[in-house]
């Protein structure tokens, strides 16, 4: 059982993943298409541990730019098709390095704005899949780029609210079941557009606090499911945005995350004794950040970037 965060081990785990030699492992090849997300998870974790300087900024930034398509959107890796999922990660990575100025903001924002549909929803790419994840991505990304007025915010918000369910939560589309990941996206989008009054904070807050498992202290994503470290982010950030985080038992959640670390090789897994990956490493550290764990910088619950980064972007003219 762990009693502390082995930050140095996680640092080495992440740097190894990003280094050349790991590129041809089976796991790396099979995740090739979402390297942009992986880079965002790894780099944000480094930033939260105040170790962003350990990577070559130029190398990362130039690779990110090779993933930009002529449409303005970014792909998951060089050669792949563009999609909003990777466009947000690309913009977030550039934000971490304070390099948003290299972007053709007009181009990127037009790509995203062009994906809004008549009913206010957003498609992920030209192929038309609609999901409230994409609503969050569009709103978050355009807000960082200070171009939120390029979309119809009212319709975007109304569409999100139409996805509200009996339990106060949100699904991926109207009528879809509540899921903590979708809830984070919808609550985050409503937070960024100043519309949290459209959330029933008590109803949702109670559903969210009931995600905590009495045995392990971890959080699950919906009723009757297993606890998973990634929900330490999605459930926790949602609770924080609606000011109901005092309804969970924080100390037990910290313990669950710490117990999910690989104390020898670094990295964090979905639950104790399971395989680690960069995704859960990021969500574990981000969760600890929201739980005010010492030595971890504060992360913003809506933008999923360190607070000092988002403040730097949005509080200066």
């Amino acid at each position: 059982m762990a009693d502390k965060l082995v930050a140095d081990k996680h640092l080495r785990y992440i740097l190894n993943l990003m280094a050349e030699k790991k590129k041809e492992s089976f796991e790396s090849v099979v995740m090739d298409h979402l390297r942009m997300n992986g880079a965002y998870w790894g780099l944000t974790t480094l930033a939260l541990l105040d170790k962003l300087g350990s990577v070559s900024e130029d190398e990362v930034v130039s690779w990110v730019m090779t993933c930009q398509h002529e449409s303005g959107g970014f792909a998951g890796n060089t050669g792949h098709d563009p999609h909003v999922l990777y466009t947000l990660s690309a913009v977030q990575i550039l934000a971490l390095f304070d390099k948003l100025n290299i972007l053709d903001v007009e181009k990127v924002s037009n790509y995203i704005a062009g994906l809004q549909n008549e009913d206010g929803s957003f498609s992920g790419d030209i192929w038309g899949e609609v999901d409230t994840r994409f609503s969050y991505i569009a709103i978050c990304c355009l807000s960082i780029l200070k171009c939120l007025d390029k979309i119809n915010v009212k319709k975007a918000v109304d569409y999100i609210v139409s996805c509200k369910n009996l339990d106060g939560g949100f699904g991926c589309s109207p009528g879809a079941e509540s899921h903590a990941g979708q809830i984070f996206c919808c609550v985050g989008a409503l937070a960024i557009t100043g519309n949290l009054h459209r959330v029933d904070k008590d109803l949702l807050g109670w559903w969210l606090c009931e995600r905590q498992d009495y045995e392990s202290g971890g959080l699950n994503g919906r009723p009757e499911k297993l606890p998973d470290v990634c929900y330490s982010w999605w459930v926790l950030s949602s609770l924080i945005m609606i000011d109901r985080v005092h309804w969970i038992e924080k100390a037990k959640l910290v313990k669950f995350i710490l117990d999910s670390q690989d104390m020898d090789n670094g990295g964090i897994s979905d639950r104790p004794s399971y395989t680690v990956d960069i995704f859960h490493t990021y969500f574990g550290v981000a969760g600890l950040s929201l739980l005010e764990y010492p030595g971890v910088k504060t992360i913003d619950p809506a933008y999923a970037l360190p607070v000092h980064v988002i403040n730097r972007i949005l509080f200066t003219k």
């Binding site: 041809e24 998951g76 899949e129 009757e224 609606i242 969970i248 929201l290």
Partner: protein, 687 residues
């Protein structure tokens, strides 16, 4: 990425070979894609790739391009159908590899949505789904993550097919019954879907789906799920939703107002706080500028409150209605709306000392589609006392929260008070009350358990909102105390609910209310509500407290001022000795335009909070709200955003918080932002 136990790779060479093979497949594919090659071989290669790695999203895009290019060449129906068959085959294989692949599910949807092609085996899709979803899951707990009945992709796809095939909602409702009763009571997805179907059938007034019969049927149905498998959550959430619907489904909107129906409001001029008067009224309002607020509080958020939906029958000028929220336009949904009536003494109606004002509401709809039983109206009387114009002639003394407070023992008070705290119960509630009564009886027979107690507490609160006789509160408070002990992890949640019940208890009857009401002699006996030292963590029942002008919430456990924005008449507020950690937590106070005295001393207000839980509940650049063009200082930003709107603030106490608020720098900052401030931290300021 999920659900793999940590263990050594037993066969690293095989894994390395697989990696090389996949890499080669991916490279060849990319080459075909970039060169737009859609030969049979190329298309087969993409299928091979997707079956190995269904997450390789670019390949799904490629297949859509290939599909379109093949359709261009041939419009023969049988050929089209065989092409569709091929796509569905690839999706099926990909799903066998990863049943949760977004790309695979969407591709199936995309293919079957192509306009102009009706795929004859569409009905098949529903059958395929039924077979998949109903697989009895014999796997261990560890593999709960692959439970077909909880796969949300399948349920979403089901809704897509249902719409395409125009399957009836009644049939789908039966399907959820089959899933729940035959497969498992714990299929949350099925309960969720049920709630969607039931709401829709009631809303369109389908046969056999009137609110009363539907609620009764559903309550009986869900009893089996709750009573047999108490520790499993799925049924409880559906049950609690039903309880909520029992009270709210198709009920008319309710509201309370200040002034309230039948009340007499005495408008007193700017010297009113200094005057001493032997006659005191609950309903005196001190007006410095001759204006007073007309407040409407709805039990659901509404939009569209304006001078066309709310008409005033008097010579008072056209009113501008504003929602009490950070956003100010008329399309905003808000529970609280305010208009300021200005009494210009030159107007003919004010040469008289008394005016009757009739307010009529109509055409207001809540965001949930509930209407007022329109038209609704209320009448109040305005009495003008003294001249209303002009500035106050005397300096005001510092307000103390402990001296000069007398009990209110005026008998005449009861009538006034009653008009404020009686929240009119609606007719047509009979079946609802009966339904709740039956449920309460059921839950009383359950043995002690967390969920049993919680549901009973909620049922008793629901009965109180409909009957409002105050008998249940003692029991409700005991239930929450029991829950705090039984389920300590959620203690703060039960504490919040306990506070809500406690305040409702106090405000349920004039006898209990008057024990907490005092008059503050030094301000012409304005009415002070004292709710200090009650371990309160949140405010409640504000619809009954709209008349309160002085409020003492000190020595409690508030961490936020959320909810106080509705109390538009508040001029003195004491939040000292609570648990406030930031100015952003006091954001609601920005809306209290009458506030003259504010005490937030002895809290935990920090300069910079590591994790600010109220950050997104206020206006700021982070939430793309707040007015641009106003200079926001770097330091004390949070304090600035709250204080700058309190134009009438004369007295502020912030002692006993972070030291940054104790120095000369902060006091000169405050003097700059709040020009009318006279008293800071107990000391008089001279400008």
């Amino acid at each position: 990425m999920h659900g793999r136990k940590r263990e050594e790779d037993p066969n690293p060479e095989e894994t390395a070979a697989k990696a090389l093979e996949l890499r080669s497949l991916q490279s060849q594919f990319m080459s075909n894609h970039h060169q737009k090659i859609y030969t049979k071989e190329a298309i087969q290669l993409s299928a091979k790739l997707l079956i190995t790695n269904p997450e390789f999203y670019t390949a799904w895009n490629y297949r859509k391009l290939a599909f379109e290019s093949r359709l261009d060449e041939d419009s023969d129906t049988s050929v089209v159908n065989s092409i569709i068959d091929e796509e569905l085959g690839v999706v099926k294989n990909a799903l066998e590899r990863n049943i949760k692949s977004y790309g695979a599910w969407y591709h199936r949807k995309w293919v079957l949505s192509r306009k102009g092609h009706y795929y004859p085996s569409l009905e098949n899709e529903l059958q395929l789904l039924n077979d998949y979803q109903k697989q009895a899951n014999q796997k261990q707990d560890d593999e709960k993550q692959d439970d077909p009945s909880r796969n949300f992709h399948a349920w979403n796809y089901r809704r897509f097919v249902v719409e395409l095939t125009k399957t009836s909602k009644e049939d789908e409702l039966q399907y959820t019954t089959d899933m729940i009763s035959d497969i498992s009571f714990t299929i949350y997805s099925a309960w969720h879907y049920r709630s969607v179907l039931v709401s829709s059938l009631v809303a369109k007034k389908a046969d056999g789906f009137m609110p009363k019969e539907t609620i009764r049927r559903e309550l009986d149905y869900v009893h089996s799920a709750i009573f047999t498998l108490e520790e499993k959550q799925s049924g409880w959430f559906y049950y609690l939703w039903l309880l909520d619907q029992t009270v709210k489904m198709e009920t008319p909107l309710r509201f309370s107002s200040w002034p309230s129906d039948g009340s007499i409001i005495i408008l007193s001029g700017p010297d009113c706080f200094n005057a001493s008067s032997s006659t005191t009224k609950l309903t005196t309002f001190c007006s410095e500028s001759g204006s007073f607020p007309l407040i409407l509080y709805f039990d659901q958020a509404v939009s569209g409150v304006s001078s066309s939906t709310v008409t005033i029958d008097s010579e008072l000028k056209d009113l501008v209605w504003e929602p009490v929220s950070d956003k100010k336009n008329s399309q905003v949904d808000s529970c609280v709306w305010v208009a300021r009536l200005k009494c210009d003494s030159r107007e003919p109606c004010f040469s008289r000392k008394e005016t009757k004002v009739k307010v009529s509401l109509g055409g207001i709809v809540s965001s949930m589609g509930c209407n007022l039983t329109a038209p609704y109206e209320f009448v109040f009387t305005l009495r003008i006392h003294d001249t209303l114009e002009g500035e106050s002639s005397q300096q005001e003394s510092i307000v103390s929260w402990t001296d000069d407070l007398d009990n209110w023992d005026d008998d005449a008070l009861s009538n006034d008070l009653h008009s404020f705290i009686a929240f009119k119960a609606d007719t047509g509630f009979e079946w609802r009350k009966k339904a709740i009564k039956i449920e309460i009886e059921h839950f009383r027979t359950l043995p002690d358990s967390k969920i049993g107690k919680l549901i009973l507490a909620r049922l008793l609160m629901a009965e109180e909102t409909m009957i409002a006789n105050g008998v249940h509160y003692k029991e409700i408070l005991q239930l929450y105390n029991d829950l705090m002990a039984l389920d300590s992890w959620h203690a703060q949640y039960y504490k919040d609910e306990h506070s809500v019940a406690l305040i409702h208890k106090v405000t349920s009857r004039t006898e209990s209310m008057s024990r907490h009401l005092f008059r503050y002699r030094s301000m012409n006996n304005i009415v002070c509500l004292r709710l200090n030292n009650l371990t309160l963590s949140r405010i409640a029942a504000v619809e009954k407290l709209l008349f309160v002008q002085m409020l003492d919430l000190s020595h409690n456990e508030f961490h936020s001022a959320e909810g106080l924005e509705a109390m538009q008449l508040l001029c003195c507020l004491n939040l000292s000795h609570n648990r406030i950690r930031s100015f952003s937590a006091l954001n609601s106070l920005r809306h209290l335009k009458q506030l003259r005295v504010l005490d937030v001393s002895h809290n935990h207000i920090c300069g910079e909070l590591p994790v600010d839980t109220t950050r997104y509940l206020c206006s700021s650049p982070l939430s793309n709200s707040g007015e641009t063009g106003r200079e926001v200082p770097n330091k004390y930003q949070d304090a600035y955003l709250v204080l700058r709107d309190l134009m009438k603030l004369k007295q502020l106490d912030i002692r006993g918080n972070d030291l940054i608020f104790a120095g000369e720098e902060f006091s000169s900052f405050v003097r700059h932002v709040v020009p009318k401030l006279v008293w800071l931290d107990g000391h008089k300021h001279t400008s």
